[in-house]
């Protein structure tokens, strides 16, 4: 069985896993980081999105062993102490969630989007970039608003970009 080490939310972790262990299983079951959700388990919904070496990845469609030596950031890695990350704060402020099941993946996808496309995001771009994230509750409208606002807030606090 592969023995793997990686950095998760700035902490060094090692584990012995089966070859078939998914990254999301390592995060949730072994490391007990249950903020990352499994919605569909068929690579469609994006509830399981985390960052691997700074890029948004569906952790249900990635083997844990493939992340040997990688830097992984989950939703738990965004807040600084008691202070929410500006993107989390924007989702709270703009009511960007109802049941909250899709939210960790939405926020990780949103921070990835800002890292790639900058702080000034128009509605059309946000909607097209959210293709990989499905929400059954909100109708997306407030999610889009929250992401635009969160992106703008991140520009005011550049240190708050994901700690990769």
């Amino acid at each position: 069985m592969p023995k793997i080490s990686m950095t998760v939310n700035s902490k060094q972790v090692s584990a012995t896993v089966e070859g078939r262990t998914l990254l999301v299983q390592l995060l949730r079951d072994t490391l007990r980081l249950t903020g990352t959700h499994v919605g569909c388990d068929t690579s469609q919904c994006g509830a399981c999105v985390v960052h691997v070496d700074g890029e948004a990845v569906k952790s249900c469609t990635c083997l844990a062993a493939s992340c040997e030596g990688a830097h992984v950031t989950t939703i738990e890695g965004l807040a600084q102490g008691g202070t929410l990350h500006p993107m989390q704060e924007a989702f709270r402020e703009h009511h960007g969630l109802q049941c909250g099941y899709c939210t960790p993946g939405m926020i990780m996808a949103a921070v990835d989007l800002v890292n790639r496309k900058g702080f000034d995001l128009d509605e059309q771009l946000i909607r097209s970039e959210l293709e990989g994230n499905i929400c059954r509750c909100t109708g997306y409208h407030n999610i889009v608003k929250a992401i635009a606002a969160g992106a703008a807030n991140m520009s005011a606090q550049p240190v708050a970009r994901a700690a990769e």
């Binding site: 070859g19 388990d41 068929t42 690579s43 990635c62 996808a109 293709e131």
Partner: protein
């Protein structure tokens, strides 16, 4: 997922050796097709050889009049590559239309071309641009490579190392996406190079990606919209029919997407 032994070679040579030494092995590239397949227990390899740490397969380079893309180059990298954007913007467009951002961050050109899904995008680009599939054993001209859905000329243990695209003078891709899966319901890639026009169609046929030779012939004297507008719609005989679209509708889409691709290639 059934259990397997996991291997992580550090060089292409190690990967090829491992394939030779292990029984019943499969390679893992971006995993965006293979991992769902394994999870659904539709495949049961004894050994999985992860190409993720192999450095040789990751480059995008220009060699003479061709762009050569390493097998492990991700869709997002092709979409954003300054070299691809300037030499073959239609290819960057195509890569950007695959799946969603997270799929594009993992999925690779080698995996897509090896898999030859009948609704995948890259096969249309390869066929229209007369690409060469470079493997660990040989160089395969694209006209011999795709052999029907999910079937290719690759032999047991043969790996794609790169795909080489001759730079066309004009090219464009028009895709009608399945709004749920984001695969091509129908996608048409047109490319012109040295006076030859090729029209490749994906998503439509139950034989997988193919060239629409009537459209190619119509465009031969002059690359313009008029001859396509005069062309008859293709017959629906060999078109796929499923819950997403009937054979008739797919045949209609082939016609419409070809028109759109030609217009786009003309800058309209």
């Amino acid at each position: 997922m059934y259990a397997f032994d996991y291997h992580r070679p550090q060089t292409l040579r190690q990967a090829v050796n491992l394939i030779g030494r292990t029984e019943d092995s499969k390679v893992l590239a971006g995993g965006q097709t293979l991992i769902p397949t394994l999870k659904a227990r539709l495949a049961n390899p004894a050994n999985l050889i992860d190409l993720g740490a192999v450095p040789e397969l990751r480059a995008i380079t220009q060699k003479g009049k061709s762009i050569v893309i390493g097998a492990m180059v991700r869709h997002a990298e092709v979409a954003e590559s300054p070299l691809v954007k300037s030499a073959i913007p239609a290819l960057a467009d195509l890569a950007h239309l695959i799946g969603d951002p997270h799929v594009r961050n993992r999925g690779t050109i080698g995996g897509s071309v090896a898999n030859n899904d009948p609704a995948a995008d890259y096969p249309a680009a390869c066929l229209a641009m007369n690409a060469t599939i470079i493997t660990t054993k040989r160089k395969i001209p694209v006209d011999q490579y795709f052999q029907g859905m999910f079937t290719t000329a690759l032999e047991e243990g043969e790996l794609i190392s790169a795909v080489s695209f001759p730079i066309p003078s004009r090219a464009a891709y028009a895709k009608f996406r399945n709004p749920a899966s984001r695969y091509a319901l129908v996608g048409v890639f047109v490319a012109v190079k040295s006076g030859e026009t090729r029209v490749a169609v994906t998503g439509a046929s139950n034989g997988g990606v193919y060239r629409w030779t009537e459209a190619e012939a119509a465009l031969k004297p002059r690359f313009s919209l008029a001859p396509i507008e005069r062309l008859a719609k293709p017959p629906s005989t060999n078109m796929n029919s499923d819950i997403h679209a009937s054979a008739d509708y797919r045949a209609h889409l082939v016609y419409v997407m070809t028109k759109r691709a030609v217009a786009k290639a003309l800058g309209r």
